[in-house]
């Protein structure tokens, strides 16, 4: 084979050695390997999660995900609470995007209790879910470049995210946790002048999207460090349970909003953006297109959301509400992918079992451990953020 003198490539044919099952033989005493803990307090780690990396030179030979730094036992605590009391607990299962939690819990209760929500409530729920997606995408899209030390876009994004949080405060009274979606409907209608202020924010966000296109997506260094890195083989999608933007970047047109339409999504005009190359760059492209799409969806929703009308269906007294015996699984599309809640009722006032299906449960454990093998130490953070891991939903 002709030797390429231009690019230095390490000879990996003999070292590290592999056993008969294809696992690397790691002997830490040989001084050929380094054990490195990436987290839990690493400034780059998106939350309290740590990666136990074994390095050979600057390449990762083995990676293990460790969670448990944020375990609060929510699923167990909910078994001792009335359904309405589960809401403050449930929304904390994934902090950055709390509204998906509210929606799936409310939808499960309504499904088991046989309750139909009014038209206006349905529109307002759709609006809140899209606003939640917008605020998290304003963080994650430029956040991908921040993992490669291009922090400017992330700072702009944080400013714009705060504007959306202002709108949340105006609508719901809360910035991060909203408690806006309740069983049977929502808590309020749009305040006066909300649409105008939201439109002003959306215009500013569109300018921001143009700016990050120049700053990040046409940047030679960003391209060099993301194209071809963190490749997810499309055949892994079902094998590893990959969902959401990560599956769409691998060429799968899967979106819960389209495939299992809920709320008002079947009345909105949108088409999920599907990528091809399945690397870090494609995943960030998918998220950027979702940001553009979310701005458009919010405009569509605001044009149709009723200003007046009933926002809450009649429900039994929430303090004495006994749901019929049964079980259900309700899903929604969060910014990370399919986000669902499995609720079992034994006919009492308390849920028998609540279990959350968060996308990070597979993305950050089985998939990330596989993806990091042979990655360069400098790319570890970028690959992890490209999967949009959210540790609170792994350990709940």
């Amino acid at each position: 084979m002709k030797k390429n003198n231009k690019i230095w490539q390490g000879d990996r044919s003999k070292y590290p050695a592999f056993d008969e099952y294809g696992n690397p033989i790691i002997d830490l005493k040989s001084h050929k390997f380094t054990k490195l803990w990436h987290g839990p307090n690493h400034p780059g780690v998106t939350g309290n999660m740590s990666l136990e990396l074994t390095l050979s030179g600057d390449e990762v030979v083995e990676a293990k995900t460790h969670v448990g730094y944020l375990h609060r036992g929510f699923e167990k605590l909910m078994e001792r609470r009335l359904y309405i009391q589960c809401f403050p607990t449930c929304i904390r299962m994934c902090v950055p995007e709390a509204d998906s939690n509210e929606y799936v819990l409310a939808a499960s209760i309504e499904e088991l209790g046989g309750i139909e929500i009014p038209e206006a409530a349905s529109w307002l729920r759709t609006l809140v879910l899209e606003m939640a997606r917008l605020q998290i995408l304003l963080r994650t899209v430029p956040g991908q470049a921040a993992t490669l030390s291009l922090g400017m876009g992330a700072q702009w994004g944080m400013y714009l995210r705060d504007l959306i949080l202002d709108r949340f405060e105006e609508l719901t009274g809360g910035r991060i946790y909203h408690m806006f979606i309740i069983p049977g409907g929502v808590r309020g209608l749009l305040p006066a002048g909300f649409k105008k202020r939201m439109e002003e924010n959306l215009v500013e966000i569109e300018e921001f999207i143009d700016k990050i296109e120049d700053l990040i997506f046409t940047n030679a260094i960003f391209k060099k460090r993301t194209i071809g890195i963190g490749y997810i083989d499309p055949s892994w999608v079902d094998k590893y349970g990959i969902v959401g933007p990560n599956a769409r970047a691998a060429g799968y047109n899967r979106d819960v909003r389209k495939d299992y339409p809920y709320l008002k999504y079947n009345e909105l005009d949108f088409e999920p953006y599907v990528g091809k190359d399945s690397d870090v760059f494609t995943r960030s492209q998918v998220r950027k297109h979702e940001l553009i799409q979310t701005v458009d969806l919010i405009r569509q929703i605001l044009a149709q959301v009723p200003e007046k009308g009933d926002i809450r269906a009649k429900t039994p007294n929430v303090l004495h509400w006994e749901l019929p015996k049964g079980e259900t699984y309700q899903r929604s599309e969060s910014s990370r992918g399919e986000y669902g809640l499995y609720v079992v009722s034994d006919g009492s006032k308390y849920p028998r079992r609540v279990n959350l299906r968060g996308p990070s449960y597979t993305h950050a454990v089985a998939l990330l451990e596989k993806l990091l093998i042979n990655a360069n130490i400098a790319d570890v953070h970028s690959i992890m953020v490209s999967l949009q891991t959210c540790p609170p939903e792994i350990e709940r």
Binding site: G68, D238, Y260, G326, R353, A366
Partner: protein
């Protein structure tokens, strides 16, 4: 959906079919046939997406219910496969060879419910808890309040008040009880 359910009912003696919605059905299967049924659903019927695996503790019946939620991305339907296992022995066949993330679910169930899945990779490595020496915490007989009271005893200088009494005392100190 109906044809699939009729077919697997015949082949795998499934019982207790519950149609939760048009796209979601739950069925119960015996422990011995569960992995064969799940493999059949994955390979023949196209339920290639494992949504979740979780357990429900039915302590009054001395049983654990395992729910394998499977999704068919083409037909856009879900099947919840329920398996009831004895709570005392709490052992189930491992399905880690079917999906890569299955091992993580089984590892969590071992830790949180004490359900054993012999042969599952890294099963005994701690997943969330570290140095846990009590009964598995997600079992119904584990009392969270009692555990918190015994483990995290009240700190010095910290008192607990009944909110109604406290406000009464603060706002109307002269009033008698």
């Amino acid at each position: 959906m109906k044809e699939i359910i009729q077919d697997i009912k015949k082949r795998f003696n499934c019982t207790d079919e519950i149609e939760q919605s048009k796209t979601q059905t739950y069925i119960t299967v015996k422990k011995e046939l569960a992995i064969a049924l799940i493999t059949h659903l994955r390979d023949i019927e196209g339920f290639t997406h494992l949504v979740l695996l979780t357990a429900v503790d039915w302590i009054e019946n001395n049983q654990f219910q395992l729910t394998y939620m499977l999704n068919n991305p083409t037909k856009k339907i879900d099947i919840g496969v329920r398996v009831f296992i004895n709570r005392e022995t709490a052992t189930m066949d491992s399905a880690h060879h079917l999906w890569e993330q299955m091992a993580t679910y089984q590892r969590e169930l071992k830790e949180m419910f004490g359900i054993d899945f012999p042969g599952s990779p890294r099963l005994n490595e701690p997943f969330i808890l570290e140095g846990w020496d009590n009964i598995p915490p997600y079992r119904r007989d584990f009392d969270t309040l009692k555990y918190a009271q015994e483990t995290f005893f009240p700190r010095e200088g910290r008192e607990t008040n009944d909110p109604a009494e406290f406000m009464k005392k603060k706002m109307y100190p002269d009033e008698e009880k």
